[in-house]
């Protein structure tokens, strides 16, 4: 795990180029505190900040091939590098290091641009082909590792985080209104956008080639794909469960490769428990685990965490996270994620990463991704019930199934059946659309758009969020089954655009901790995507096949536990006894809201007052408050202070 930065285009004097690279890479010190490396060649510059995890002695980057005409810097891990290396050595390639990085340059020599298809890992790669004078940028399949781009002054600039680009391009920090509206609706900007104007994110599963003449070609080498309904089933459910357990075990095994000690997050849910149990089953001894506990019962999973710790005998540390700690950490968290967010849940994870690092650990395995891959979220079941209901709209029994959802919420949207049916019964006209499942969530999130400044709201008058999103979906999504469509939209809008950056890479890397996610091994995803939908959600049981695969590995109470998504207190984190934290009072105050220009000061004032009085109960207000505050923090740090 590391940070990378660089450029390709109009040449500078070598010392000027080097100084530019140094400015960029220093902003990524938190991603790689173990050393910097540089390579400058004409108009191309590569910089690397290293977090030493594999090959501590000789793994420094940039790394070149035998002839020194192919160079790479990369952030992440190639988990199958040993297998790749063996094959490459058999083909005559000579390796100078023991690192996973070096397979990249030799694979490129062997396979050209298709080298990336051979990698099993989480990565953002920059590869410089000096002989052909071309730059390749590639990103892992799911978007675990970030990579941002900007095209300015005859150059393509890239960096693991936006702050690296802004270090080279001062004055380019402007928020983009359209991306802000997307973020406040879908929870993240839609690829390839970022919330900053002129700065893009390389989409997951894509490779960008930039030639010497400046021509660019962007290719998708992998995407979530599902069979069309009626495709033949390959195996029985028993065989599939067995196969899945073996595959998951191998995904964990690959992620245990490191020359530093490994830990794990243990939330008390099925997915992280399975990850740790598989680590133990693979012979890891005295596994070090970490978890978060909250004072509020609605968010706390301490009892389940303790049960797993007892079951597995791990050496466990609990971070008890107060609302105030979340509120105080939030500005640093937003600086780290560089984008507005609608939830505070990433901030406790940043605090947990600090604890992991202080305990001497650089790498943790987590259960991230299992809900997207195996159908774990209530959103999937909610859509299933709504589709079932739509087949007999007059049925009283069918919508009653909604009452089996959201049991973990203190103010559940389904606690009053008639109201729930009225709310979830809306949007049925979208039944055949790929975004059907997401209509309730996005409708609730879009409440935040009410608070935009009047001229920005006017600019959105013709924007239909459902149509706009759907126009960007691959045509194949329309041919897939309903759960497949829901999973695809969730993988893009929630996992890639929100969870992996804001609850995965960024909060962990704030303290130089690398997260590894066995459930996002592309072999696991491809296996799961090919399964019949009723093996993922059977009746109203989510992750059915995964639960079956884990039989005997976990205590039954954990294995059969209903999904409780990880959440943290939202707007209440910013008030103590009805008084706002100082920075919250300042940023949400009329003067700063008006000066920033993004929001309507009177409307924000009313929301602020409602939250201060503890009267904001629903998701919509909580999300709007966190969205506005985080936007103001992004503006404050990256725009206002940068311009001052």
């Amino acid at each position: 795990m590391c940070g990378i930065a660089g450029f390709f285009g109009t040449p500078d004097a070598p010392d000027t180029a080097r100084r530019t690279l140094e400015r960029m890479i220093r902003t990524l010190h938190h991603r790689g505190p173990d050393g910097y490396g540089f390579h400058v060649d004409g108009g191309a510059g590569l910089a690397h900040a290293r977090l030493a995890v594999i090959d501590l002695a000789t793994g420094a980057q940039p790394i070149a091939n035998e002839r020194g005409d192919v160079w790479t810097v990369f952030n992440g891990e190639i988990f199958n590098y040993r297998t790749l290396r063996t094959e490459l050595e058999r083909r005559g390639h000579r390796f100078a290091t023991q690192s996973d990085t070096e397979v990249i340059v030799h694979l490129y020599e062997e396979h050209g641009d298709r080298f990336v298809e051979h990698l099993n890992g989480d990565f953002a790669i920059a590869l410089w082909d000096a002989a052909r004078r071309r730059l390749l940028l590639a990103r892992d399949r799911c978007g675990v590792r970030p990579l941002f781009l900007a095209r300015v002054a005859g150059r393509l600039w890239f960096g693991s985080e936006i702050k690296a680009l802004l270090a080279a391009l001062p004055g380019h920090a402007q928020l983009d209104p359209a991306s802000l509206a997307q973020t406040l609706t879908y929870w993240g900007p839609v690829e390839p956008g970022s919330v900053f104007a002129g700065i893009e994110s390389l989409p997951p599963g894509h490779l960008l080639a930039v030639e010497d003449d400046g021509c660019e070609s962007l290719a998708c080498y992998w995407d979530w794909s599902f069979p069309e309904p009626g495709a033949p089933r390959r195996t029985s459910v028993e065989q599939a469960a067995e196969e899945l357990r073996e595959l998951l075990s191998d995904a964990v095994r690959l992620r245990l490769q490191a020359d530093v000690p490994l830990g794990a997050y243990l939330s008390g849910g099925l997915d992280s428990s399975a990850t740790v149990a598989l680590m133990c089953a693979l012979g890891q001894r005295n596994v070090r685990t970490f978890s978060i506990a909250f004072d509020e019962a609605e968010f706390d999973e301490s009892a389940e965490q303790a049960a797993m710790v007892r079951h597995l005998g791990t050496d466990h540390t609990v971070l008890r996270c107060s609302r105030r700690a979340i509120g105080e950490a939030f500005p640093a968290f937003v600086r780290q994620v560089e984008t507005p967010v609608l939830r505070t849940a990433g901030a406790p994870l940043m605090l947990l990463a600090r604890q992991v690092r202080e305990a001497g650990y650089k790498v943790v395995l987590t259960g991230e991704g299992a809900d997207e891959v195996f159908g774990g979220y209530d959103l999937f079941k909610e859509a299933k019930v709504r589709r079932f209901w739509a087949r007999q709209p007059g049925s009283r029994f069918r919508p009653a199934l909604l009452g089996r959802l959201y049991g973990y919420l203190e103010n559940s949207p389904v606690q009053h059946a008639a109201l729930a049916q009225s709310f979830f019964g809306r949007g049925m006209e979208h039944l055949a659309r790929p975004v059907f499942a997401h209509v309730p969530r996005w409708t609730s999130s879009q409440h935040a758009l009410r608070f935009l400044a009047p001229e920005l709201r006017a600019g959105l008058a013709d924007w239909n969020a459902l149509d706009w999103y759907e126009e960007r979906l691959p045509p194949a999504t329309r041919r897939w089954g309903p759960l497949a469509r829901d999973q695809y939209v969730e993988a893009k809008s929630l996992l890639a655009a929100y969870l992996l950056p804001a609850q995965g890479d960024r909060p962990a890397m704030a303290h130089s901790v690398e997260g590894r996610f066995p459930f996002l091994d592309h072999r696991v995803i491809e296996f799961a995507n090919a399964l019949p939908e009723h093996w993922k959600i059977r009746g109203m049981t989510e992750k059915y096949l995964l639960r079956r695969a884990l039989h005997g590995l976990l205590p039954e109470a954990i294995r059969t536990r209903t999904k409780q998504p990880y959440r943290a207190p939202d707007q209440s984190s910013f008030f103590v006894d009805g008084e706002p934290l100082d920075y919250v009072a300042e940023l949400m105050g009329e003067a700063r809201i008006r000066a920033a220009g993004w929001f309507d000061a009177p409307a924000v004032g009313r929301l602020f007052e409602k939250c201060r009085r503890g009267r904001a109960i629903g998701f919509a207000d909580n999300q709007a408050f966190v969205g506005i505050l985080s936007t103001m923090l992004v503006h404050e740090h990256f725009v206002r202070q940068a311009a001052a």
Binding site: N411, S412, P413, V414, H416, A418, L419, A420, S422, F423, F424, R426, T443, S444, Q446, H447, R450, F451, P602, A603, V604, R606, L607, K610, R615, A616, I617, G618, F619, A620, D621
Partner: protein, 88 residues
Amino acid sequence: MSNDATGVRSSVRSYILENLLFSSDPNDLPDDASLLDRGIIDSTGVLELVLFLEENFGLQVKASEMLPQNFDSVNAITAFVERARSPA
């Protein structure tokens, strides 16, 4: 808090404008506009509304009264409050 129907309507309107629509423009809220259809309340937002009614009009809203037809517009809420306060 005024206790007549006009007072109830006015209080309900003010509450919804201020706390659910975050607006000061009365034109944003016709009395017959569906709060659910317009996305002004969702199924948890209605709990805030119920809290307001209970605290300001001396009501106890029963679970059996948690129905969309009681809370879906200013007109509906006003009528509900009037019914709830009427002697049985």
